[in-house]
């Protein structure tokens, strides 16, 4: 196997006086989709923000494609070809759908074939192309947030809880979209609470609790082992079935 694309090595993060991440170790293999799951407040979002440079790791190292990115500024990490879909989606609501996409395409105008691919996955974006993004529904905003991250080929995609608050039909559309993305070279790290979604897409799985990693393995193994699920995640999975 080749070396993983992303590695976190003993990462600690403090927010103010709080010690949130307490030695996070895991790696994300190239080309696959790694699920990061865990209870509310486990530190999943903090992990994503630390990778993105939005929080600064107080200890430990983060390596992307052999390069130490710990302590780099957020724009530099983004320019290392990383796309990020935050938990709150980070849509620019005063800008149109089109303008949101233009800003996401760093290398100039969005490419036509890429746009067609995105419109096929998310037809609503084509329909509302010139509408202010703030007027989209919650599901459409999530589609826009993901589409922004797909507008150019990226090495690594960080996606924080894309199914949050979405109806099952839209979750299905997202599963299809990530399925398509998995066929490309992009490596994906995805935070998820919806176990149905996680099981459908995950190759690898990392489970977090209380600012630490408590399990790493193949998604298929965890999906098959109900007792392990119970131990690691308790009832939280049932509630999201």
């Amino acid at each position: 196997m080749s070396e993983p694309l992303l590695t976190l090595d003993g990462v600690h993060t403090h927010i103010g006086h709080y010690h949130i991440l307490q030695g996070v170790d895991f790696s994300v293999p190239r080309g696959g989709l790694t699920m990061l799951i865990g209870r509310n407040g486990a530190g999943k979002t903090t992990t994503m923000r630390t990778i993105m440079g939005l929080w600064r790791a107080s200890r430990g190292a983060i390596t992307l494609d052999g390069r130490d990115i710990t302590g780099l500024a957020t724009p530099d990490i983004a320019q290392a070809n990383v796309a990020y879909v935050p938990e709150d989606m980070g849509i620019f609501s005063d800008l149109t759908v089109r303008e949101n996409m233009i800003l996401a395409a760093r290398d100039g105008e969005p490419k036509d074939d890429r746009l067609r691919w995105i419109f096929r996955l998310f037809p609503a974006l084509e329909k509302f192309w010139s509408l202010e993004a703030g007027a989209l529904s919650g599901g459409q905003k999530q589609m826009l947030a993901i589409a922004r991250a797909m507008i150019e080929p990226r090495k690594l995609l960080l996606v924080d809880e894309p199914t949050k608050g979405l109806a099952p039909a839209i979750v299905g559309a997202l599963i299809e979209a990530f399925g398509e993305l998995k066929k490309t070279d992009t490596t994906i790290l995805l935070v998820e609470q919806n176990f149905h979604f996680a099981r459908a897409l995950g190759d690898d799985v990392v489970v977090m609790d209380d600012g630490r990693i408590v399990h790493r393995g193949l998604m298929a193994d965890l999906a098959a082992d109900e007792e392990l699920q119970q131990n690691l995640l308790g009832l939280s999975l049932e509630m999201h079935q």
Binding site: A78, F92, I102, A104, G138
Partner: protein, 343 residues
Amino acid sequence: MSPVPERSAGTGLSHPLVERLRAAAPILTVPVLMLLALPATGDPSAWVTLTLAGLAMGMMIFVMASGLTLVFGLMDVLNFGHGAFVSIGAFVGASVMLWLSGLLDPGGVTLHLAAILPAMIAAMVVTGALGVGFEKIIIRPVYGQHLKQILITMGGLIVAEQLIYVFWGPDEIPLPRPDALRGALVFGDVAVEKYRLFAVVLGLAIFLAMHLLLARTKIGLLIRAGVENGEMVEALGYRIKRLFVGVFVVGSALAGLGGVMWGLYQEVITAQMGMEIMVLVFIVVIIGGLGSVEGCFLGALLVGLMANYTGFLVPKLALGSNIFLMVLILMWRPQGLIPVAKR
């Protein structure tokens, strides 16, 4: 969770026309204020004069305020020192105008028309350059700390005022406008003062240029996106601080230009003029909605008109009326006329 309501649902009375009116309401405040003033002033020709004076004053305040609203929107920076650029711009512009007028028209009693444009450019270059230093030395160390920002930028303003005394002395400097910008064009019994017309045209041109920049260019999109969610702009790979420095410098240069325009309007400049006008500038920025250039433009027109109407009707209430206007608008729209989405 309950489903997200549709945009127009819930009002019950919603009708396309009502919706359109509601969307246009902030813009309609300006003509509404003008119409309310018509019966109050009683005399149509006085009303035309006051309205033009109000629009001219509004445009000048807009030029001074536009940078400030973006500076706040983009980095949450409260810059109480913005008035320094107004004063310094006026003094630099005045020096250039007096010097050039002396060359072009030795012994003339008024400024020379051809001196005005170079003076405006010089004022903008100097205040823009000072903006670079001001951002680096005064603003950058206090990002995210509002109380310190207020204190240190006020300190910057005081230092700038003292420097004006050092370079230009303590006296006010008279700035007699050139004949071409004096007097009025007369249509029947309506007199339209030339300089006010000039200020309106220049202010409008600057507003349109800014509007196009913000609406049509990638830099403009980034500025608007950054006002809403700077973190996301960075996560897309753009350096928001660089954007901010650019906006700060342009805002400082525009404040300098506003200072020259205001000085020519008053035909006299003082070191305190920047600090004095800042009261109105802050009212405008708040009325408009922090971070909104369109809102700032509307707010500036309202404040300019209000100052002139009440200055005519009840002179003692000129400033008070604008504070009253601000309270009224904030009661109606707590985020200002055109609120910007902010995370």
